[in-house]
């Protein structure tokens, strides 16, 4: 039941926020904060109350009949993987509410309604264990996100939001066909109509069908992640979205793609995924290099940060398709740390834009003297982003490279170049924006206490993940073992 509450509280808070805006402009913000805080507590209770027996990896689950005619269940469950994603979701949710505290001045109620509902959609995606429910949540989280971009976005918001929606919807429908195909093939071999994840695992498929269905899933997650040929929505959507939207896009929506690959693509179609590995790894490396190069050549600060996401998420793909413990641990670490570091960078860029009303790097420069705290934070998160040892991103990317080294030395070497390239773009960004002469004679206020608090917490998080990542890895371990067990058998067949 507690899992239902997680979603219901967010949905309810969204409605309350929308209604309460009539009486007060501050009330929606506090309601949203309170809802996420309650969810934090509930998640902690799930953690405390988890059963440690070996029989199940689920900490907690709910399973209701939903549409019996089709064998659809309302099945939510949480394991170590989902748990980590939930924590990240609520953490970034709070950041998103705080960072729009002064940025969003119009239509506050409806803004928080969408914010809460997009979080509810994301939570459902991370919890759904019925493929129909998963698809349902997958599509549903799009709509509030679309509204966030299209109503509160910047100049080209309609273009960006529509592009975002069309890309995800098209790939999502391909996934729906793949889900249905899997559903009917499962029925053919077993006589049971079901969308249940655990039952669909190990469905016998011809290798051609398996590859086709796997590709249907892969495309949907590749668009979200994003993988390079289908990434073009990302720079536009991230750039045009309001700060909170960018934080949620980069920090959470991209992670649903990684989560989908981890949870569904490889376990459901181990042989096809194995067959596909060389392609996926190559795409990952292309993404790492391409993202870095593109980031280097941007003059729009927000677009720059957006392209770094393409690069970082390439590591996630690399780690997942290496499919060994190191690679998987690296992928999950990268997902979490990227959420923090890139989320923080977006908050900073948003804060900067609120102050100087531009994102153009050419119009910045010499800001360090004016806003030392802000600049120092930016330096910190840039360093995190370029993979400085001691900060979380380094751990993630290092583990990924260790994992992929076992699979392909050549690709690992090229991917390492991507880390090198990240040094260039991160330092260029710092130089252009914060160092040098203040040619535009800006006069700005430094971080407000609210912004300072966001930064402090995120700094602490990245330091913790950088120096002592073990709790995260321990939490992930049982779930990872479980995922690997599902893949093991066919992989052994292939190795012969």
């Amino acid at each position: 039941m507690i899992l239902i509450f997680l979603i219901a509280i967010l949905l309810l808070a969204g409605i309350l926020a929308a209604v309460s805006a009539r009486w007060s402009t501050q009330l929606p913000r506090w309601i949203s904060l309170a809802a996420i805080a309650v969810n934090f507590v509930l998640t902690a209770r799930i953690w405390a109350g988890r059963s440690l027996s070996a029989s199940t990896t689920w900490y907690n689950e709910v399973d209701w009949n939903w549409v019996p005619d089709f064998g659809i269940h309302f099945h939510l469950a949480v394991d170590g993987l989902s748990f980590l994603m939930l924590i990240l979701t609520f953490f970034l949710g709070i950041v998103a509410v705080l960072c729009s505290w002064t940025e969003i001045r119009e239509k506050i109620g409806f803004f928080h309604f969408n914010l809460m509902w997009v979080l509810a959609g994301i939570v459902s995606v991370f919890l759904a264990m019925d493929l129909f429910l998963f698809y349902f949540a997958w599509e549903l989280m799009l709509i509030p996100m679309y509204f966030l971009i299209v109503i509160w976005g910047h100049e080209r918001r309609v273009y960006a939001a529509t592009k975002f929606f069309l890309f995800t919807q098209c790939s999502g429908l391909l996934m729906l066909i793949a889900i249905l195909a899997l559903y009917f093939f499962h029925h053919q071999s077993t006589g049971v109509y079901t969308f249940e994840y655990s039952e669909l695992l190990g469905t016998t498929l011809s290798s051609r069908a398996e590859l086709a269905i796997m590709l249907g899933f892969f495309v949907a997650f590749a668009v979200k992640l994003p993988v390079v040929p289908v990434h073009t929505w990302l720079p536009d959507a991230h750039t045009e979205a309001p700060t909170a939207g960018s934080v949620i896009l980069a920090g959470l929506l991209l992670k649903t793609g990684g989560y989908g690959l981890l949870r569904f693509v490889v376990p459901l179609f181990p042989r096809a995924a194995h067959q596909f590995t060389p392609v996926a790894l190559t795409l990952a490396v292309i993404g790492i290099i391409y993202g870095a190069v593109m980031a280097f050549s941007q003059t729009d600060l927000k677009r720059l940060v957006a392209y770094t996401s393409v690069s970082h998420l390439g590591f996630v793909l690399l780690g997942i398709f290496s499919w060994n413990p190191l690679g998987l641990q690296g992928a999950i670490m990268t997902m979490i740390c990227h959420g923090l570091s890139t989320g923080a960078l977006f908050v900073l860029v948003g804060g900067l834009q609120e102050r100087i009303h531009t994102r153009d790097l050419n119009r910045m420069g010499g800001l360090w003297a004016l806003v030392p705290h802000m600049s120092a934070s930016a330096l910190f998160f840039s360093l995190a982003s370029l993979g400085l040892p001691g900060l979380g991103d380094f751990v993630g990317e290092f583990l990924v490279l260790l994992g992929s080294y076992k699979v392909s030395v050549a690709l690992t070497v090229i991917a390492t170049l991507g880390i090198l390239a990240s040094t260039f773009y991160a330092l260029r960004m710092m130089q252009r924006a914060f160092f040098g002469p203040n040619t535009n004679s800006w006069q700005l206020p430094d971080l407000t206490p609210r912004e300072g608090l966001i930064m402090a917490v995120m700094v602490a998080g990245l330091l913790w993940l950088g120096f002592y990542p073990q709790p995260v890895l321990n939490t992930f371990a049982p779930a990872m073992d479980n995922l690997q067990r599902q893949v093991q058998m066919p992989a052994a067949v292939l190795r012969r």
Partner: protein, 475 residues
């Protein structure tokens, strides 16, 4: 024909009776309220009788009509949607001067025609139903004789419908010459082959012209945008939902098995389906008139329905039924919103009329957003479950090419639905357009439709059970 047969026919008899009572009522005392009241009472009685006769079915009444679960399901849908149109019309036509009472007479007659279509298993009743429907629709489409667009739409519909009916008649003649029977059931059992094929296939092709015209599928779609635009909004709603529902229900009875037995028929409908999905969605892209967008999107939606029709089996029939309910609810809501926003001078059809609607009338705009998402097939709406059902039936029949076309074209469709959504949520214009008050009747209907739209989108199980119980009677 015995007493039980008559009882089974009660829904149709009540509809016919209502038409007479409304006509006499108008003759005795010309009162708009009275005509509307009599119509709604008649429709309600007919709807109740649909539920009441359920235990008597299936029952063949003469060789023309078959009352079974399938027919009752569609009868219920038709009568309910017709009643919704009647309520929506009330506020709409109340704003207008002149003689408005006959509209209800025509509405009941058109509903009767639809009822005959869904129960017919014979070409004679097919043609009768179709003509009763068409003739009533001519009058309804051109009801505002003062408006040029309405007259144009009416004439267009009249000429094209007559032409297609002529094709249909010729097709029937060929089929009769080839098989010596006019009953659908004999046609279905007939293995298509031998010497009669030369007459039969052209006959089927010609009869498809008549059906395709009513459905507005490509290449018989040319009338759709003009009629939707020119007709009064509630009438357009009726054309879009009730009349099309009836024809689809008939098509399934008539050729449901034929597509499986004859590759030629399957190919014919595949081409129509693909052309409709592609053309409908592409043509809608550049429209700035909401009614025209709905017209083009309806072309595409009937392409989707044909995919389920082609998938065949009980699952395909179920998918068609669910999609029709979803489509009816969605389109009635859409036209309902157009209706309540319309003024006495003109319908609220221009996209600009909807700019910033959300900030002026949040509830109405939210419902309209739900409608557009339902048309686009986004979850939590009936349209999504419908599309899911169609894709499921397609996957069941391994109709992969059709499904891929469906998916790709519906992404194109998304583009123009989103354009309307953006308009709803963009900044309101300086000039505040006059606020139309919504009367309680329209509000009640719109609210109910919105609840259905979301309710069955979230929890479709009851409707699915009903469909399973009734549509199963088809095969």
């Amino acid at each position: 024909m015995n007493v039980t047969d008559t009882l089974a026919l009660l829904p149709l008899l009540l509809l016919a009776g209502t038409a007479i009572v409304v006509m006499l009522g108008i003759a005795v005392k010309r009162s708009y309220k009275l005509a509307a009241g009599l119509t709604l009472t008649g429709l309600a009685a007919s709807f109740i009788s649909v539920c009441a006769v359920a235990p008597l079915v299936p029952r063949q009444v003469t060789s023309l009509l078959l009352i079974d679960g399938y027919a009752l399901f569609y009868l219920g849908l038709i009568i309910a949607s017709s009643a919704a149109v009647a309520v929506l019309s009330y506020q709409y036509f109340a704003k207008h001067e002149g003689q408005r009472e006959e509209l209800y007479l025509l509405l009941v007659l058109a509903t009767l025609g639809c009822g005959v279509l869904v129960t017919s298993v014979h070409f004679a009743s097919f043609l009768l139903g179709l003509e009763v429907l068409s003739v009533s629709l001519y009058g309804m489409v051109a009801y505002f004789t003062g408006r040029g667009q309405a007259l144009e739409a009416g004439i267009k519909y009249l000429i094209l419908a007559s032409a297609s009916a002529a094709f249909l008649l010729f097709g029937m003649a060929l089929i009769y010459a080839g098989t010596g029977t006019m009953a659908f059931s004999n046609l279905r059992n007939l293995s298509l082959g031998g010497s009669s094929l030369a007459l039969l296939l052209p006959g089927i092709a010609l009869s498809v012209t008549g059906i395709g015209f009513k459905l507005g599928v490509v290449p018989f779609h040319l009338w759709t945008p003009d009629v939707y635009q020119g007709a009064p909004a509630p009438v357009a709603a009726f054309v879009a939902t009730t009349s099309k529902t009836a024809v689809v229900a008939l098509l399934l009875r008539y050729l449901g098995a034929g597509t499986q037995e004859s590759p030629a028929v399957f190919l014919l409908f595949s081409i129509i389906a693909i052309a409709s999905m592609v053309a409908g969605n592409l043509l809608a892209l550049r429209q700035n008139n909401v009614k025209r967008v709905l017209a083009y999107s309806s072309i595409a939606h009937f392409g989707y329905i044909l995919v389920a029709f082609l998938a065949g089996t009980t699952m395909g029939a179920g998918a068609v039924a669910f999609y029709l309910v979803a489509y009816t609810v969605t389109i009635l809501t859409a036209f309902g919103i157009v209706t309540v926003l319309s003024t006495a001078e003109a319908d609220a059809a221009d996209l600009e009329d909807y700019r910033g609607l959300f900030w002026r009338r949040p509830v109405l705009a939210s419902v309209f957003t739900a409608v557009l998402f339902s048309l686009a097939g986004i979850p939590a709406t009936m349209g999504f479950v419908g599309k899911f059902y169609i894709l499921a039936s397609g996957a069941n029949a391994s109709a992969w090419p059709l499904m891929i076309v469906l998916v790709l074209t519906s992404v194109i469709g998304l583009f123009y639905y989103l354009r309307i959504v953006v308009t709803l949520f963009s900044e309101a214009p300086e000039r505040q357009s006059s606020m139309q008050r919504i009367e309680w009747g329209s509000a009640f209907v719109l609210g109910g439709l919105a609840v259905l739209l979301i309710g069955f989108g979230l929890y479709p199980a009851p409707l699915l059970t009903l469909i399973r119980a009734t549509i199963g009677a088809l095969n």
